[in-house]
């Protein structure tokens, strides 16, 4: 489902060219759970951005569901974001001015799903993550773990096939982190493809495959 071939990404700094990703070759099949590890500044987030169609690349070839990304229209990308890709962030990135329920239904609103149906989906998710009581609270009123649960609920509300998580447990206590990882594992068991970035060895092992990124290169693929 994801096929990266000889991907390069660089920024031009005045006259100098700084490579962030160098010759990335990676393919990920549906149903996989991949962990990406590596030191800070290695390019993990950048790679995830490219996979998630949020950022472009300079050289190479990227096929997503058998379509060439370089030629993808803006409209099609928006469609992928609505229906096929979900994001989870280290800093949760909930919208402060929206309640828990409103945050969760963000992508459903963009998809144009009717209110009744949206409410049903949101109720299911709240129930699943045991946060029914928090429905009308604002993000600032939740604990970090709870916020991340909302983040996950929002990411999977539109039932994406691909879930991208950038250090989802980075800001959490290890017990809360563990809970989040269990949720991800469960989702993977249900068939969702997951790619996560993590600095934690224990959590990395939830993945069935670990990729090490060092200075923009894939170090060893197991």
């Amino acid at each position: 489902m994801i096929d990266l071939k000889n991907i390069f990404k660089y920024y031009n700094h005045k006259s100098q060219r700084e490579y962030i990703l160098k010759d990335i070759n990676l393919s990920i099949k549906e149903g996989e759970f991949v962990s990406i590890m590596g030191p800070s500044g290695a390019g993990k987030s950048t790679l995830l951005n490219i996979i998630g169609l949020l950022d472009g690349f300079n050289e190479g070839e990227y096929r997503f569901f058998d379509t060439e990304v370089a030629t993808l229209k803006e409209k099609k990308k928006v469609d992928y974001h609505r229906n096929h890709i979900g994001f989870i962030f280290q800093a949760y990135h909930l919208i402060d001015e929206m309640t828990v329920a409103e945050n969760i239904e963000t992508s459903l609103v963009y998809k144009g799903i009717k209110r009744k149906e949206r409410q049903a989906i949101v109720a299911d998710l709240l129930d699943r993550f045991n946060i029914v009581g928090k429905k009308d609270l604002f993000p600032a009123q939740l604990s970090g773990g709870q916020q991340q649960l909302v983040g996950i609920a929002r990411a999977i509300a539109s039932k994406p096939n691909l879930l991208l998580a950038d250090e989802p447990t980075g800001n959490l206590h290890s017990s809360q982190g563990k809970m989040i990882m269990e949720v991800l594992k469960e989702l993977n068991d249900e068939g969702t493809t997951i790619i996560q970035v993590t600095h934690n060895n224990v959590f990395a092992n939830y993945g069935k495959r670990i990729i090490n990124l060092l200075d923009g290169r894939i170090e060893k693929a197991e």
Partner: protein
């Protein structure tokens, strides 16, 4: 989706109360100014729309050489007979006389009340102009009158007044007029607006010349056949119609009444219109600029939200829409506030400009208001929304996003432009205000009219007796009477320097003590005196300009032929400002007036005003109990006469204040934001030992630099502009550097005030708090 946008926009508004209120207040003031200006323009451009036949109506105007003027808005009465007879396109014409200058006295019971602008017309007037009668029936029979509704209720309250008789005095004639009908008040934007219309029989008593060519003080209106061609008709009239008068270069033409208000040269209405139209638009545009400036800053805090939305499937269009909704909400609130502002300001505005503008007068004004609202939403929202819809989603995944104030060229330019406007407007305002004061400073204009009361001089019999009576009270310091008051009136004549003279001189009549009332200097010789009969029958007083014009070395005793009579110069007065400032300085001739004249002028002691008023009223009441006493100070009359000038100046000042207020708001918002963003930095710097002054300078430096740039750009331009402006006056204010420095200081103070409070408060805060807070 839209409801969700509104909900979020509302929460954002509520959370950033300070910046939201800055945006709302700024836009409200801008919108209010814009809406008022547009409503005014609409009112001005729709003159005479209240008459069904307006397209076929025209007023006769007269061209010729009338001293200072080349055109008159009135004409001779014969035109009303000749024109329909000679030109088949003209199917109807009517003579109208307007009695202005408070010359009508109406008696409510025994109480005399001064009234203005009564009309005298013939019956066919109502075939041409549209009046709606609410009571009674108009016939135009001899000695009848009709009143507007507001006038009827002033004199008769709620009772049915039809058939009642009103006692009216005009020019010393008493009329008893029967009230025939009552008409609905006309809007202000028509030439024939009047509180009362009297039948033509009254004109027969008042005016000897109701035909012929010699009195050019009549309003003559013509009604043409539909689809006439005004240019062709006027060409024919000028070519074929020769009024039989001695004056050459004398002719008449028609001006469509719909054009009269704006296109005639008799008032500066179109200048006012342009000024308000352009000023209102600029004020609105500046408010919109500000909004754009402020909201792009605020939105830069929301790039993260945009990233989240994009990664959740939001399209660019959705983001654009969301931020447009945001602006829509802010603008709606501003709109509501602006409507409140307008309804508060409207009464003053209407009074100032002599209009009766209202927000709910028909469909078109409402459409204008709504269109302005829509336009404001679009113009203010578009740029920020586009900027936001272009935010890169990838920014989001960087683990630390701090939306910082990116250096924006757009914002720099906007701020500098605002400074430029503020400085320019202030400088113009200071120059015009100082010129106004300078001109009427007694050292410059040569007279002092403070504490001079003026009153109609014809109603009290022999004024010599009145003068003696008035001076019995010590609170009255000097009394005189005459035709003209300084800087207020003028009569021009050529008849003073031989038969072939082309040069105009200003001439008027007055009596002894005129110079004392106005504190005017006499340079040589003597002025008229009560006891010197010979001077008054054969002498004449002139000013220095006349002496220069005739190149006399020793003017006293020289002879001068005035109005065909030889007189001997007895005195020379200073070149005080005898005519209004719009006239060139001309030679002046002062003649004796006799027992009565237009204006009775009384200089009173300012420490004893109450006494003086009481005494004057007592004396005048005794002289004539049947005339209302209306004490007006020279300065009040001058303000009334200069009303259009003053209203123009007031409007300019209002625009300046609105624009500067907006600049102030935006600076306030900008500095607030900058300080909020740099709280941590300020904390760190203070820990490193920076003083409050250091911090203040660092944060406000960029504003000061932009101010200096703006000042350097605009001051030379505004200097040139001021020179141009001043060159239209005969007594010019010397342009000194302090005018420009003063305006600069004012803007600097504004900058310091707008930026200072927040910066200093933050700089004084305990740095540890700011650091912990982060």
């Amino acid at each position: 989706m839209i409801t969700q946008y509104i909900k979020i926009a509302w929460r954002n508004l509520w959370r950033n109360k300070l910046s939201s209120s800055i945006n709302i207040v700024g836009l409200a003031v801008g919108l209010g100014t814009g809406i008022l200006a547009m409503l005014y323009s609409y009112n001005e451009m729709n003159y005479e729309r209240c008459h069904n036949n307006a397209n076929q109506l025209a007023k006769v105007i007269t061209y010729g050489n009338f001293g200072a003027f080349r055109q008159l808005p009135t004409t001779f009465p014969q035109a009303a007979f000749d024109l329909p007879e000679q030109f088949p396109e003209i199917k109807n014409a009517v003579r109208v006389k307007r009695i202005s200058n408070n010359q009508v006295v109406v008696f409510r019971g025994t109480e005399p009340i001064l009234e203005n602008n009564f009309l005298l017309t013939e019956a066919n007037f109502f075939e041409m102009f549209t009046y709606t009668f609410s009571e009674g029936r108009y016939t135009g029979e001899a000695n009848t009158i009709i009143l507007s509704q507001s006038m009827a209720s002033k004199y008769f309250g709620t009772q049915n007044p039809i058939g009642e008789v009103l006692k009216i005095e005009i020019f010393g004639n008493i009329f008893h007029l029967k009230l025939e009908a009552i008409y609905k008040d006309l809007p202000n934007n028509t030439l024939v607006n009047s509180p009362a219309i009297m039948s033509w029989s009254v004109a027969k008593t008042l005016f000897k010349e109701r035909r012929g060519y010699s009195d050019t003080g009549f309003d003559v209106y013509c009604q043409m056949l539909p689809n006439y061609d005004i240019k062709k008709l006027n060409t024919k009239i000028v070519a074929d119609y020769k009024p039989s008068t001695q004056l050459d270069d004398f002719h008449i033409a028609l001006m469509p009444i719909k054009d009269f208000h704006l296109k005639s040269t008799f008032e500066n209405n179109s200048a006012n219109l342009y000024l308000l139209f352009i000023g209102g638009l600029i004020a609105l545009l500046i408010a919109i600029f500000n909004y754009i400036n402020q909201s792009t800053i605020q939105y830069s805090m929301r790039t993260q939200e945009v990233g989240i939305r994009l990664s959740n499937g939001g399209g660019r269009k959705d983001i654009f829409m969301q931020f447009m909704v945001d602006t829509f909400l802010t603008t709606s609130l501003a709109f509501g506030l602006s409507l409140m502002i307008i309804s508060t300001v409207l009464p003053y505005f209407n009074q100032l400009l002599d209009t009766d503008i209202s927000l709910n007068a028909g469909l078109s004004p409402k459409l204008i208001v709504i269109a302005l609202f829509g336009l404001t939403v679009l113009l203010s929202g578009f740029y920020p929304a586009v900027v936001m819809s272009k935010v890169k989603a990838s920014l989001l995944l960087k683990s630390m996003i701090s939306p910082n104030l990116r250096k924006s060229r757009m914002r720099n330019v906007l701020t500098t432009v605002q400074f430029v406007f503020a400085i320019l407007l202030l400088q113009i305002m200071i120059v015009s205000q100082r010129q106004g004061e300078y001109m009427f400073n007694s050292d410059v204009c040569g007279f002092n009219a403070d504490n001079v009361i003026a009153i109609n001089g014809y109603k009290w019999g022999d004024l010599n007796k009145i003068k003696t009576e008035l001076l019995r009270n010590t609170s009255v310091e000097a009394v005189s009477w005459g035709q003209n008051m300084p800087a207020m009136h003028t009569n021009m004549t050529r008849s003073w320097n031989g038969p072939n003279n082309q040069r105009m001189a200003n001439i008027f009549k007055c009596e002894p003590d005129f110079l004392n009332v106005f504190n005017i200097e006499i340079d040589k010789g003597r002025f008229y005196r009560r006891d010197n009969v010979a001077d008054r029958s054969d002498g004449v007083v002139v000013n220095q300009l006349l002496v220069n014009a005739l190149a006399w070395d020793d003017p006293i005793g020289k002879s001068l032929r005035v109005w065909g009579q030889k007189r001997e110069v007895i005195g020379v007065v200073s070149n005080y400002m005898a005519a209004p400032p719009i006239f060139e300085e001309t030679p002046l001739i002062i003649m004796p007036a006799g027992n009565q004249s237009q204006n009775l002028m009384i200089l009173v002691n300012p420490n004893n005003l109450k006494d003086a008023h009481q005494h004057i009223e007592l004396v005048l009441k005794q002289a004539n109990p049947n005339y209302p006493i209306n004490l007006m100070y020279y300065n009040e009359i001058a303000d009334e006469l200069a009303k259009t000038f003053i209203s123009t100046a007031t409007i300019v000042n209002a625009f300046v204040i609105v624009i500067i207020f907006n600049a102030f708001l935006s600076l306030f918002g900008l500095s607030h934001f900058i300080v909020e963003r740099s709280k941590k930095q300020i904390g760190v710097k203070k820990v490193m030992g920076a003083s409050v002054i250091n911090v203040y300078w660092e944060l406000s430096k960029s504003f000061v630099i932009r101010f200096v740039v703006a000042f350097a750009i605009i001051t030379p331009l505004s200097y040139l502009f001021s020179v141009q402006y001043l060159s239209t006056f005969s007594r010019q204010l010397p342009l000194t550097a302090d005018i420009f420095i003063q305006s600069g200081c004012m803007v600097l103070v504004m900058i310091a005030l707008a930026t200072g409070y927040k910066i200093i408060r933050t700089a004084l805060e305990n740095p540890v708090k700011a650091l912990r807070y982060e």
